[in-house]
């Protein structure tokens, strides 16, 4: 960081470590700005961040009760819902966060040090932390209220949630880049996502699907991420469909597509 002298521009360091430090500094500053903005002047302001995912979980639980559905796996209903919804929340919230980058950065593009990539990484990190907090809240409530707690292989669960998050990040980034040239890109991205809530294994497991249906739904990379997370969370579930390579290939493909679009825009 340069020392402050009016009217003098700090020389830009050529050292790679220094430049990396500068990038990290900008990303953290943007993340801090995002968090402070959501907080406003009251800590309760940030609570709204968790209202939507908590409402999803509550509505799903009520839906299970109304339709008399119970967990298809040997576990309690809330834990089953959490195992599917947490990776889904990771996927959706990062898409929404990255989708706000273009408008959020509009006033900041005058800073040469702040780029679209900084904004994207910052938004994605904030959402990743938020998902962790949502998990702690709902899993904690489940333990406190119902006395239920289940986390078979934490790292496996984390991998599934992280895959879902990375899928959302790459998808959101592609459409965020596209939105810089086509105003309809963001609404299109939201429309395309609508069925994902119903076809990504949030309410059901891959194992209970007929083979024909599974052959089709397994084309959805988010289903694999959800199944990996569920596999990691539940003691009595071992997915027959979960593959990390498939969503990873999607993530690579989406990021590559975003990079190509970005280079075309620069030309």
């Amino acid at each position: 960081m340069s020392s402050f002298r009016q009217g003098q521009v700090a020389p830009r360091s050529e050292n790679i470590a220094d430049r990396l430090y500068d990038h990290v500094h900008v990303i953290l500053a943007l993340a801090k700005r995002e968090v402070q903005s959501r907080f406003g002047q009251h800590a309760i302001g940030y609570a709204w961040t968790y209202v939507t995912p908590l409402a999803w979980i509550a509505v799903t639980y009520v839906g299970f009760m109304i339709f008399g559905r119970s967990s298809p796996v040997y576990t309690d209903t809330v834990t089953f819902i959490i195992s599917g919804l947490i990776p889904y929340v990771a996927f959706r919230s990062v898409i929404n966060g990255v989708g706000r980058v273009n408008s959020g950065l509009r006033g900041l593009v005058i800073f040469p040090s702040v780029t679209h990539a900084h904004g994207t990484i910052s938004a994605a990190l904030v959402e990743y932390v938020n998902v962790g907090i949502v998990f702690v809240i709902v899993a904690g409530l489940n333990l406190l209220v119902f006395g239920d707690w289940e986390l078979d292989r934490p790292l496996h669960f984390l991998a599934g949630v992280s895959l879902a998050w990375a899928l959302g990040l790459s998808y959101g980034y592609l459409f965020s880049v596209l939105a810089q040239s086509f105003s309809g890109a963001y609404p299109l991205s939201q429309t395309l996502l609508r069925p994902t809530f119903f076809i990504s294994g949030v309410f059901f497991t891959g194992n209970e699907l007929p083979d024909r249906v599974l052959d089709v739904l397994a084309l959805n990379p988010l289903l694999h991420a959800v199944e990996i997370a569920r596999d990691g969370m539940l003691f009595h579930y071992q997915s027959r469909v979960a593959s990390a390579f498939y969503p990873l290939a999607w993530i690579a493909g989406l990021l590559l597509a975003a990079t190509v679009v970005r280079s075309l825009q620069r030309r």
Binding site: Q6, G7, A10, A29, R33
Partner: protein
């Protein structure tokens, strides 16, 4: 270097396209004091936004230097944050030492305790004072100004003018204004926007003359052809 290369920018106004720039060219050195006269409603803010990178041209390229800073620019502020939080955040993004920069802005803006209140509670004048403080505290190499070079009450205006003169010893200025008097005091080189083209003029008087001629009959193509022929197309 600042400027435009074959730059075209238009926007829709009441369903009809309004041309701000049409294949316009301009080159301004980083340390130059350049005044561009643009009639009110003809795209002053759009031109500054293009130079600042906030807006993009429909065609062509915008030349931008790294050390540019729009004077009195409030666009980087978040209304939910306090003045102090905004300033510290800007310092962190730009790579300045936050405490020193914040101390300068708190002192220059003369906001007192309001500096620690959220911007949602600020009046327009308070926001402008904070924005000008942020600008003058920024180590800019070129200031970009949309008409206003000063803000606030008379005392604060004098303070801004003094600070600007001091900064311009080392920094450049691109002032886009609709009032020829504004460019007279602070600019060394002058130009006028006519029919989407930037016309370079020999001095301020020449610019003011061309500006008056184009303003008296804004729809006349005569201004764009015969009269422009005697001026230097940038």
């Amino acid at each position: 270097m600042w400027g435009f290369v074959n730059c075209t920018r238009y926007y829709q106004s009441f369903g009809a396209p309004k041309v701000v720039l049409h294949e316009a060219n301009l080159a301004v050195r980083t340390d130059e004091r350049f005044g561009l006269l643009v009639r009110a409603g003809e795209g002053k803010s759009t031109i500054v936004r293009l130079l600042a990178g906030v807006d993009r041209p429909d065609e062509g390229h915008v030349l931008r230097d790294e050390g540019g800073w729009p004077l009195g620019y409030p666009g980087a502020f978040q209304a939910q944050l306090t003045g102090e939080e905004n300033i510290v955040n800007i310092a962190e993004m730009v790579g300045l030492e936050p405490l020193s920069y914040s101390a300068f802005c708190a002192d220059f803006s003369e906001l007192g305790e309001a500096y620690f209140s959220p911007l949602t509670l600020y009046t327009g004048r308070m926001r402008a004072q904070l924005a000008f403080a942020a600008s003058f505290g920024m180590p800019a190499t070129t200031y970009l100004a949309d008409e206003k070079l000063v803000a606030g009450d008379d005392a604060f205006k004098r303070k801004c003018a003094s600070a600007l003169k001091s900064r311009l010893d080392r920094a450049g200025l691109i002032l886009v204004a609709s009032n020829p008097k504004a460019t007279k005091d602070f600019c060394d080189r002058h130009a006028v926007l006519v029919n989407g083209k930037i016309i370079l003029c020999g001095d301020h008087d020449e610019a003011a003359e061309l500006f008056a001629a184009s303003a008296s009959d804004p729809q006349s193509d005569d201004v764009g052809e015969d009269e422009l022929a005697s001026f230097d197309l940038a």
